[in-house]
Symmetry: D2
Subunit: 334 residues, 4 copies
């Protein structure tokens, strides 16, 4: 038994990763939903042909599709989501369209009107480690952004445990591979501009910031975020700085994470004093977290690492898909 | 005393390299000639302001310009060259517009009509190692292509010496850094498509082939050429294969090069059995050449390496500029 | 039912890749065989613990091991192979120890005495596309070198079909990612020496040449081979040049390959006029082959691409393992 | 008139960069001082022969040397410095041997005894922007570390101006190219371990921290520092976070820098709201600084960028050399 799962935007990096994962999934079959937004030929192997259908209500019905992953820009997601929901399929949207809770916040951060605001209240934020039950029963899942996934998994347990000196704030210095910028012709992401370089962008005003605030429990004035481009194709590493209210060892802080994530299949913790690098999570759905702390100065550094295309996009989308379809949460992801 | 030298197309990689070289030139001053073909902001340092003028006959007259480097696409070069020549300045064109000897060959390889064909007879091919005298007296110099520069400097002495088994042919397996594709937004040269990759293009039909045939002395059926993209920003390395008519050692072949290039400031020869890599020529105007040979099988491999933006473009253009202005040939280039 | 399969040399890149593949294999379980040759910590995930045992006859018996993969230097392979064969397990050796047919050839190319020469006659060369039946019944399989795998799969059908102008010879310009040099501290493979570089080595005398001669049907004087280092971690692309005895189109040459490889699960052919790049085969067990030809000049270029750690090492070893254990040839490899 | 300047450790990356800079210096001539610590062949061009001499008191006297750059490990610097000072030459040491003010601090951070502690009081910290006068008259100059150079130039004016909320502290998230680790065979800096990766090291306990504290005016508990490895060869970018005591705009903070650095030839400031990337400073002796600030939250981010081999090592050493020899400070560096 195999569930057909549609993918819109399959020519992009997240969409291609979704095809790759679903092609190895024991219970799902990827179906490419063709849409005008596909701006470049997908690199599909001839020997593993994948079914195709039009990205329309009729198309998905005819293909027997149960759920759709939207690896599309927000404006396309806002256009397609109502149509697909009406057609009776589950929608997992990888764009930012349904991540923020109000149309006003969307307009503030994304600089455009929300055209499907009536669905914002219904959309479930697809971070399984915190919203597992709601995801399982949802029609519309908003898949988290890549930066917020790594940030929230690292920050929320600390804030919840009440150990952070919030007056001093939490600083998240984030670095991403270039695929995070999407697959399109752009001088900014051209090889010669990126190689032998390292650059910061959207300092203090990245549109992923409100996602972190919504989930981590921090307030805006307590959180600084910088996004930076590493000359590699994939991976996000976030170096997170804060002070503890009381002197604490790294082991004590790791213990807080262990309590929170003991049963989580996709969060891996490092022994106190050790932190992950990007090769550790490359092409996996894991979020790896490590802690360094100096009780004398009450300073602490947490490093959180994911693959932006997997746990930061297509992998987490499949994790959410598994939950909605009642499949084992790890199916196709280990 | 400093000669003002205009640069059109200064936002591209070759143009930017020309600014860099001329900024350190003891006898020349770069002047940026502004043209609509400039599609992206040049990375100019505020602390080293460079003069600007319009890319018109009036503009170059008012700026007192003596010579112009055209780092522009062929169609822009064909448009500007007649106007600039009429204005009385020397033109050094870095495009392919004036490299082939007839309008018919141009149309065959560049797939468009030549719109300044009356200048083809006058244009001097700017490879100083072979055309020094003509370059010195020319009004219009056609700067060689990057691949042909490395190929011709390696192949011509061998053909001239009559040691090559031309029936078996010469094969040139060429590899280039990504800046050779120019500075523009393109999916093909985007970081994620190039990194962790290596790809061949224009196999057996690259438009640089006729340039090699014109200068090396080979005929079309005797020459195979493949261009390939290395995931680095700059540099061309060509691995050249042929058989000798008689058994020859690498030292004997190096001796042929030494005789030819004894007095050349920008050709460096390696001891027999050694070949250059790309770091050896990076950001220099040198062409490095090394030879490996097996007398028993009469097989020979020559490796030729340049920096595609320097000896393959802006550096060689300045070398030609020095010759036309009566300056020391190496001025600004060592 | 799961076969325990031992891996010696699991801290190297090929060994680590073997662990990765066997961890996902439906019918095998990797067991790490600890040996003094392991010079650096393996990057093993704590959450997927792998069994360990000593790399001795007793160790493999106690662990119930059926077959052993030796991802070790030749001298270690020559030492361990007789012991393991005597212990009754199948040995698949990834080193060059058993690839050449005589001790004299081994000494000539590997510059050391062969210390297990009595096994050379028995060793089967593990290229399934040509030796499937012998592999299935073998005790000792010599896994092919990475360069020869890509070369032989591309060249042998052409030589067998009698279309190559052997007097002019076949030239193989090969490029490899850095993992081909193994995992060890070395200035030559240090980041700053490799990045922004491209370099040739072992020109005309690479120790993989005799492997190509043994299998392709070419004679030494007919074959030129150059190995070159690309600044990427994995992948081999070979650009192969020859002349056809008669004018032939690319489609006619592709047809020769199609006849040979119609039923092969791991050879993929491209449409005439198209060639693979390295991203197409990255982290797969495929060998991709494409053809460009010019009937007018009878010149032909074939591009053959593999992942050096998969089809060029651990993947092909598992393919051979599947054959010897009577499992589906593609198990764990798609 | 040309001053002979000796370089010990010329096979390393900093030493090679010093040769490159001095070869183009109008008033100095590099002389390679041969020492047993040279562990790998320098990549010297045959066409630009450089003089050599033994790295001994006699050797430098015979060569007429006026000043010596030590691009050596601390233990070699502690051994050679007293001998060279006695021989009457100026010593500029690029190691950490003479950067800290006491032997106790040296032992604490470098984990070994200081063997030339009698010179610590005399050594002048070679950061020209703050110690110009002392440098000009010094016999022994301790060239600053790469990370501290970028950090101190960015942090000291802010602390001096009294605008930083020191209770909240300053966080410096630093990233460096791989050449910062020196030129030696090491698995950690091998290509396959670094490429497609990003990793943190020496979190909260890097030996460059005390250098920042000595010069910036911060106390230990006020400063967090993390070093991270970017997969590029050269460049350091530091993202520096703090809160202002009062609401301040980026322009107001840039004005503080402008006042401090108005006449500095090697500090470049960006317009408020803009920050440098690494290509901007590549192969230059500049330190580029940019500011982003949000008055509402009093959060501020400063980005400081240098080339670790130039302003972070050999370039700054030559800047110091110019000062001690009474040459123009920018000679050979623009």
């Amino acid at each position: 038994m195999s569930f057909p799962v549609g993918i819109v935007g399959f020519t992009g990096y997240s969409g291609a990763e979704a095809i790759r994962i679903l092609s190895h999934h024991p219970d799902c079959e990827p179906v490419l939903l063709e849409h005008r937004a596909d701006n470049a030929g997908a690199k599909l192997q001839k020997k593993s042909p994948v079914r195709r259908a039009p990205a329309t209500a009729e198309g998905i019905r005819a293909a027997g599709i149960r759920a759709v992953l939207l690896a599309t820009p927000p404006e396309v997601s806002m256009d397609l989501t109502p149509k697909f929901l009406e057609a009776g399929v589950i929608v997992i949207d990888l764009s930012g369209a349904f991540r923020l809770r109000t149309a006003a916040r969307y307009k503030h951060w994304y600089k455009e009107e929300h055209t499907a605001a009536e669905l914002l209240a219904e959309a479930v934020y697809g971070l399984p480690e915190y919203n597992r039950a709601q995801i399982a029963g949802a029609r519309l899942i908003s898949n988290p952004g890549c930066y917020p996934t790594a940030a929230n998994l690292a920050i929320r347990p600390l804030v919840a445990a009440g150990i952070v000196d919030r007056a001093a704030g939490i600083i998240c210095d984030a670095k991403s591979g270039v695929s995070g910028a999407g697959r399109k012709a752009s001088l900014k992401t051209s090889f010669c501009e990126v190689t032998e370089n390292f650059s910061a962008y959207s300092i203090l005003n990245h549109r992923h910031v409100p996602e972190v605030l919504q989930t981590s429990g921090l307030e805006e004035k307590e959180f600084s975020f910088t996004a930076q481009l590493i000359p590699i194709d994939r991976g996000i590493l976030e170096t997170i700085y804060f002070r503890t209210l009381q002197p604490m060892t790294a082991a004590e802080i790791v213990a807080i994470y262990e309590k929170q994530y003991a049963d989580e299949p996709f969060v891996r913790l490092y022994e106190a004093g050790n932190v992950p690098d990007l090769q550790a999570v490359r092409r996996t759905n894991f979020c790896d977290i490590g802690v360094i702390a100096d009780p004398a100065t009450q300073r602490c550094v947490v490093v959180s690492a994911i693959d932006n295309l997997v746990k930061g996009a297509a992998g987490q989308a499949v994790q959410n898909l598994n939950l909605t379809l009642g499949l084992p949460e790890t199916a196709g992801l280990l």
